[in-house]
């Protein structure tokens, strides 16, 4: 063979020499031809042999590749999310210079508040650490396109917005300085001084028909015509993927006039602020400068700013903040599972390697060179890697899309998740790696088997060295499966508890509609009140509707204006100032919702705009402000709208879990809608039958009052409650999937090990049977062996679960981390699976022919 190689080399040289004489083109072509010849024809022999061995045992090779491919695809699918959320840089110019700016007050333990308009104006004027700073605020607005209105999220942005993000539009242009001048807020009843302009998000542009000529035309938002000047690229999602359009906003315009004698307020901290630091500025340096600035402002305005500083957080961290830990935990869990899978495959491959040891030993004994055998093994591994990569890529493409469709909202930068080159590369590299771990290494070990030993009948060669290791692996797999099982059990119980928890009101037979009237049409409070009065009256006449009411912010609903304002009980004075959530409700709201009025009364038609100012409070606020005393008839001071004014408490209602079953009650103040006529309301209707059956009639009835006003998001309270636990459902499903994967891995491990043991011990077993042991007894001994693994792995797993569940405490609800029922169930499931996995090897052991013992 070596002489052939030399001859090939010599002939190749000669051909090159001939080609050189005939010109450069010939030379290059000959080079390529020779290379092709060498690589694909020379190596063909090994690949052909590898292919033959695959064809001979396709189930094993394909099975292993499929297993590994499944593992790689699952890991890669998670990687696609982790990559988008945590690893890939933000799609803006020099994203490291972008920071989120919070106001923070250590003594009040309010560390991450938004910024107030007044303070932001000072920051803009006086800071020396930033190239640009922008403030933004998202509002729900109504887009009118063709058939009625659609609610969309509009974002007000102040002057520096595109200087901070520095992103070029896909079409058209972004705002110029003039367009910010005097621009009023989107939903405001004031008119802007200039022509209103907006920049559309990619998804809104798509939903409007993706017409490139839309730029320059107008769209109707909140009853006003806005001229579209640009469209942003698909991955521009500021502040999040829901943003449908951006509109310029001159903050000062909104805070002029008699309502704001002090100008822009400093104590309403609600704006999201992002800044672009100057080149070379560190985040610590910028924060130090901003602190100095903030303490200056605090000295000038102690009543609003004492104790308030500035906190900076890198924008990338802020975007990933909510789910960094969860994402990494899930990814780490998947990775561990993949490693266990590799271990299993390695275990199988070792067992197979032992079976092949004879084949290899014979070939070596007949004079095959070591390198020849190695080359064939490499070829086999390459083949197996290629199959694994193909399977992994196909499954990943499929699963990434599937995962996107079931993943809950709120995973950061989810709109950037896609099957792209990075994800594909990750899958390919991982597939290569796991093939190497799971397939190549054990095979190479087998190729180094001593010839003499392997040629003897039925002697397992690598048994003694790897037996303990493989036993350890199986115990680890069982332990991991137990931990995942316990996790799945705890989350399943959590989910059940969440569905059962009393949220404080009657959730069944409650229909929900949302109405977003046109600000241009209903300019005054009186007009708004009148509109809603007519809508509610019309709805009351729909058959099967018992009662109807409306509120600004409905429990379990994420849409609605949710905000807090400072208040204090009149007798205590402003030192007792704390915040309460403010909601505007129409008469009959508590009765319709089924939220019991504990003391006093509910709002009535008498609580009109010019009637005495009254409020209904919840128990939480009542007890914190007045303790055990009766609050009815007392006054509380609420700093809202035109400053601190007294309001008389006329009723106390039961606490509810406003933000979902997990949330704790917060202090709440309800104001009669007529006394503060908010434009956008959630309408609820108590029905005598399935609320969705009434939905069409109810919507039609509401539209009958004014067909131009969008009545949308028709749903039921049950549905909202389901949405509120969507994340919990997702977590439960995810960990259940993991637990199933873990269990299957453990079962596979147990099976592979026992099957191997049986082969190894078959002469001993045959001997015992020849000496009179019953097949039943033999099978029993194999099952007992599996149970030993189950006990060892189960114990370790339970200890691990107990330790790990402390970290998972925040995920749990209504169930203790060491819930005995869950632990027992996990143990029983594990026991059954392990016994099932050992059944086949045990049966095979029981069927061993005692005559086998006679052959030497």
């Amino acid at each position: 063979m070596t002489s052939d190689r030399r001859a090939i080399r010599e002939d190749g040289k000669r051909m090159l020499a001939d080609a050189r004489a005939r010109g450069r083109v010939h030379l290059v072509m000959t080079w390529f031809a020779l290379l092709w010849d060498l690589v694909f024809v020379g190596a063909r022999h090994d690949l052909a042999q590898a292919l033959r061995s695959v064809v001979r045992a396709p189930a094993v090779t394909l099975g292993i590749s499929l297993l590994l491919g499944l593992g790689v695809a699952a890991t890669t699918t998670l990687f696609a999310f982790v990559d988008a959320a945590l690893l890939r840089p933000l799609p803006y110019d020099e994203p490291d210079r972008l920071v989120m700016m919070f106001e923070s007050n250590v003594s009040q333990d309010r560390l991450r508040e938004g910024a107030s308009p007044g303070n932001i104006l000072d920051w803009l004027d006086r800071n020396d650490a930033f190239d640009a700073i922008t403030a933004m605020m998202t509002v729900s607005a109504t887009l009118r396109a063709g058939d009625g209105g659609t609610p969309v999220a509009g974002v007000h942005v102040t002057r520096g917005f595109f200087d901070v993000y520095r992103r070029q539009p896909l079409l058209g242009r972004t705002f110029d300085a003039r367009e910010f001048e005097g621009a009023a807020s989107i939903t405001s009843r004031q008119a802007s001084s200039g022509e209103p302009v907006i920049v559309l998000s990619h998804h809104l542009w798509q939903s409007l028909g993706a017409d490139p000529h839309l730029v320059g035309r107008t769209v109707s938002v909140e009853g006003r015509e806005w001229s579209v000047i640009g469209v942003m690229p698909e991955d521009f999602a500021v502040p999040d993927a829901k943003a449908a359009f951006w509109a310029p906003w001159d903050m000062q315009t909104s805070y002029r006039g008699p309502r704001f004698p002090q100008g822009s307020p400093r104590d309403a901290r609600f704006l999201r602020v992002v800044g672009r630091m100057k080149t070379g500025m560190s985040i610590e340096g910028a924060e130090a400068r901003m602190q100095t600035l903030a303490s200056g402002i605090a000295t000038e305005h102690p009543e609003t700013n004492a104790g308030w500083g500035v906190r900076l957080v890198p924008l990338a961290d802020e975007i990933a903040r909510t789910s960094r830990l969860e994402l990494l935990l899930v990814f780490a869990a998947m990775f561990c599972l993949l490693l266990l899978l590799c271990a299993n495959v390695a275990s199988l491959a070792i067992a197979r390697g032992v079976a092949r040891a004879r084949e290899i030993a014979i070939r070596l004994a007949l004079g095959a060179r070591g390198t020849r055998v190695t080359r064939q093994l490499i070829a086999e591994s390459v083949l197996s890697a290629i199959v694994t990569i193909v399977i992994a890529l196909l499954l990943t493409t499929w699963w990434v899309n599937a995962a996107l469709s079931i993943a809950p909202d709120g995973i950061p930068r989810m709109h950037e998740v896609a099957m792209n080159a990075r994800v594909a590369t990750f899958a390919a590299v991982l597939a290569l790696l796991v093939t190497a771990i799971g397939n190549a290494v054990p095979t190479f070990r087998a190729s180094r088997t001593p010839i003499a030993g392997a040629l003897k009948d039925g002697v397992a060669v690598s048994a003694s060295t790897s037996g303990r290791l493989r036993g350890g692996l199986v115990v680890a797999e069982i332990a991991a499966a137990v931990m995942l099982l316990v996790g799945a059990g705890l989350l399943a119980r959590t989910f059940a508890e969440l569905r059962r928890v009393d949220v404080g009101f009657e959730t069944s037979n409650l229909l929900v509609l949302r109405i977003t009237p046109d600000a241009a049409r209903y300019r005054t409070g009186a007009q708004t009140s009148d509109y809603y009065r007519r809508v509610l009256t019309s709805l009351r006449e729909v058959p099967a509707i018992e009662s109807v009411a409306a509120v600004t912010s409905l429990p379990m609903s994420t849409i609605g204006s949710e905000f807090t304002r400072p208040y204090w009980p009149e007798h205590a004075g402003p030192e007792r100032k704390t915040d309460a959530s403010i909601r505007m409700a129409t008469p009959g709201y508590f009765g319709t919702l089924g939220l019991p009025v504990i003391a006093g009364r509910e709002f009535s038609d008498g609580d009109e705009a010019d009637a005495p100012r009254v409020v209904v409070i919840n128990q939480k606020l009542a007890s914190s402000a007045w303790g055990n005393e009766n609050p009815i008839g007392r006054n509380l001071i609420l700093d809202y709208q035109r400053g601190p004014y007294p309001y008389q408490v006329v009723g106390v209602v039961r606490d509810d879990r406003h933000d979902g079953p997990r949330s704790e009650p917060v202090p709440e103040i309800f104001i009669p809608h007529a006394q503060n006529p908010y434009l956008v309301l959630n309408v609820i209707a108590r029905t005598t039958m399935d609320p969705m059956a009434v939905a069409q009639a109810a919507r039609a009835s509401a539209l009958g009052v004014d067909p131009d006003q969008p009545v949308h998001s028709v749903t039921t309270m049950e549905q909202l409650l389901g949405d509120a636990v969507q994340l919990d459902r997702f977590a439960m499903l995810l960990i259940t999937l993991f637990a199933v994967g873990g269990l299957m891995t453990a079962a596979g491990g147990v099976y592979a090990l026992l099957a191997y043991t049986v082969v190894q011990r078959r002469r001993e077993i045959a001997l015992r049977m020849a000496l009179g042991a019953s097949p039943r007894r033999i099978a029993g001994s194999i099952v007992m062996e599996s149970l030993a693994f189950a006990v060892a792995g189960g114990t370790i797993g339970m200890i691990g679960a107990a330790a790990g569940s402390r970290f998972a405490r925040t995920l749990l609800f209504g169930v203790a981390p060491q819930d005995p029922a869950t632990l027992v169930t996990a143990a029983v499931v594990l026991f059954l699976v392990v016994v099932a996995a050992s059944w086949l090897p045990a049966r095979r052991a029981a069927l061993i022919d005692p005559g086998h013992a006679m052959r030497i």
């Binding site: 052939d4 001859a7 020779l34 092709w36 010849d37 060498l38 020379g42």
Partner: protein, 121 residues
């Protein structure tokens, strides 16, 4: 190895490249490069053999006992000790003969075909 007549029919038809290699060594032992040259020349440059493929085929043919590595070498002046010479075996000769006869029969049939005559006319 004692030569016993084997059923040559099993090996037919020969792959075109194999046929050319056997023809090239039919007149006497040749080394690899000379086989390539000979085949290239006989086929007017239509069939080009590349070294790795050629030696792969040569080893296969050797295994099938159609050729053998020859000890007969040319005079020392023309020789190169790195060269490996291959010659046709008796079995190889039979196979080549059978293949040529098979092809002749095909050509004969083709000539007799009226359709082909028309094309030529």
């Amino acid at each position: 190895m004692p030569d016993k007549p084997r059923d040559v029919g099993l090996l037919l038809p020969l792959k075109p490249k194999v046929l050319h290699i056997l023809l090239a060594v039919a007149d006497g032992p040749r080394h690899g490069y000379s086989i390539m040259q000979e085949v290239l020349e006989r086929t007017d440059g239509q069939v080009r053999l590349w070294p790795a493929a050629l030696y792969g085929l040569l080893r296969e043919l050797e295994k099938a006992d159609l050729i053998l590595e020859s000890d007969k070498r040319p005079a020392a002046a023309e020789d190169d000790e790195r060269r490996r010479y291959f010659a046709l075996t008796l079995h190889g000769k039979r196979v080549l003969d059978a293949e040529v006869r098979r092809l002749e029969a095909i050509v004969h049939h083709a000539r007799a075909s009226r359709a082909l005559r028309k094309v030529r006319a």
